[in-house]
Symmetry: C2
Amino acid sequence: MNDKKMLIGMQIGNGYGAQATSWMADNVDVRNYTNLDAHVRYAQAAERGKFQFLFLPDFLAQSQKTDHDAPLLTMDPAITMAVMARETTKIGFAATASTTFNEPYNLARTFKTLDVISGGRIGWNAVTTSDPASAANFGAQVADRDTRYERAHEVVQIVQALWGSWQEDAWVADKDRKIFADRSRIRPVNLQGRHVASRGPLEIPPSRQGQPVIFQAGGSPHSLALTGRFANAVIGATFTIEDSRRQRANVRRAAEQAGRNPDEIKFFAGIMPTIAPTKREALDRRGQFVEPGIRQRVRYLGTMLGLGLTADDLDRPLAEAELAAAQANPADPRSGTALQIAREGWSVRDILYHGIIDYHPSPIGPAEVTADHMQEWFEAGACDGFWLSPDVYEDGIDTFVDQVVPLLQQRGLFHTDYEGDTLRDHLGVDYQYGANH
Amino acid sequence: MNDKKMLIGMQIGNGYGAQATSWMADNVDVRNYTNLDAHVRYAQAAERGKFQFLFLPDFLAQSQKTDHDAPLLTMDPAITMAVMARETTKIGFAATASTTFNEPYNLARTFKTLDVISGGRIGWNAVTTSDPASAANFGAQVADRDTRYERAHEVVQIVQALWGSWQEDAWVADKDRKIFADRSRIRPVNLQGRHVASRGPLEIPPSRQGQPVIFQAGGSPHSLALTGRFANAVIGATFTIEDSRRQRANVRRAAEQAGRNPDEIKFFAGIMPTIAPTKREALDRRGQFVEPGIRQRVRYLGTMLGLGLTADDLDRPLAEAELAAAQANPADPRSGTALQIAREGWSVRDILYHGIIDYHPSPIGPAEVTADHMQEWFEAGACDGFWLSPDVYEDGIDTFVDQVVPLLQQRGLFHTDYEGDTLRDHLGVDYQYGANH
């Protein structure tokens, strides 16, 4: 047994599950998109499982891609976090918010308010926005990458400075001396960048963890520089242990290059399990979400393997000659897994039911399959933890909590209770107040 | 008895009360600024009183003016509204948000989300920002009034168009047909103004009342044009019945000039009562909030009356000669009331304890004093309702609900239960979806 435990965060989007078609599942209320009772129930289930945090993605434009997909997002992450935070006591929350189309003063205010009212349980995934449809919603065009990241550095720096502008000892709150707060310790920041500026101060006292944790996503050189400077958690996009180890090493090196302790950044690998008593049941459960778009997927599977596949091929396994000719397409990192599954002799339909075109590795089968996957990746140093995308929130969270979490705990891989009360406690990163030094 | 009933909204700011010094009251927890449990308790008390809405002011800069004042605002109105809405079922909420320093897409998203999750109980007080410290928090300078209002018109128009961009019949939610939403009925708005623009659509379905109600504040010609075009409720700043009638008439005329039914705009007059069993007790209750700044106030009272008053004069009434020489300063509309109270023979301190320098008319005394004030104003056509600023929320709301509301109900002036479920129901204004026509 290793002393170091893995961390678990869970993605929560639209109230249905990680699949755009999760809303179709029999046990899902199709109106959950607008009913935060569901989000609260899922947050409480995740907290029962001692997950470190929930992660709310965001996107500033229409996310529904076809009539049979649901939007992948909650209507407004800040509002959803506020509600979930009120109805939980321990679990943390991190949400994406764009540095490109928000002003630092507004970002600082919303996230610090959430951090204060939640008792220090909030993180901010500070991303840049390069999507043209999102830009158009702000009457803008997409700026080049250098400009977007230059602005991102300015925004995060100003936000953190605003967070620290109400000094930790400023709130006197003394009725006898008739002093509410000492204004000499609530000071302007007077920061002027090339893209954004703010004078401050921000009229919000420290939270229980000081201020929100900075999250990052993406592994480009631009993103790594931002990560190294500011982040305590990185949401990775990885499909193999080797790739994940490399990405994690890059993140840690970026922290060192910024003069920080690399252990202050936790790297998370995605996982999108489907859990059922048998492999066949798990494949069929996953398959219901694959079916609506299966005609497109079968053609794309052909591209991954260098074969010309159509819907006519769905109900047969690949022939010996096809398997001999097949090559994993290096343009898609999921191709190796697809080829490996094809070689196991599954029908083309079942290959697709393995979730091989989904955006995270997908352990499919009894709970042990998922626990084994997590153990292998974690012990190989591929990640500090996982961000989990359940197929259907309504029962998928409880199944993971009741079946996978105990296995991980028995194996000494996951904690049995929260070590503290704040998101920084949960992640094992230091208290911070104000700007990075 | 008149069939028409008055409406009551209540201002809720920092968790203490309407006075910057309300936090000092014995029964107030000084930590309420960061503890939304207090706001929830106050919202529930107001709902027990069948108030139509709570009103959350906003200001984009430091609002604490001296060390002995508290900030007058909640940390972030959108977050506070989300929490209060979850823990109430009927009462409406309206919050100020700047059209000057927010993007229409972000405003549309936050307010419509709140409207959906609250079951149609949200309003947006769409203001312009002319405060230099607020502008500096966005690295900006204050634009001229024409420019600010031109932008405001564009912002409200785009926000309303985005609200209507998910058409009312778009959410099919049919598992059998595998259709979540019909994207042909979720359409871009493609609005391009001089200051702001947005393509849309906004991926949020209608709320129970369609979309949020627009509030306005201010009576300048620029403000009236915005009110006439968009608003269903106006928060007035009035000190006399005559002035309030005039302002209300202006608002109604502005609606007519915009081609709308003037009854679709409700005009609210402020009221800042202090209620206690006797006049003396009420004066002493109010006095505790006046005392911390009384040396400044006595000098200002002198300016209001054309007399040179100092702290040495606090404990005596004005002399006959002073009263004969005193003149109400026409530069301050509160001066007439101050002079009238001075003539009643109160000491200078007690004149100030009447709240004559506060920013709303202040009935001081037993509950009947407040009920009589409201009846007189309402029956004179000075307003459609009141926005109440209790001196201390902790007991002031309950006192109003238990003592003033029953008097108003007995007199046939205030409803005895909610007529419906949405803010539009409460205000008696029409369902609206999408932009004004």
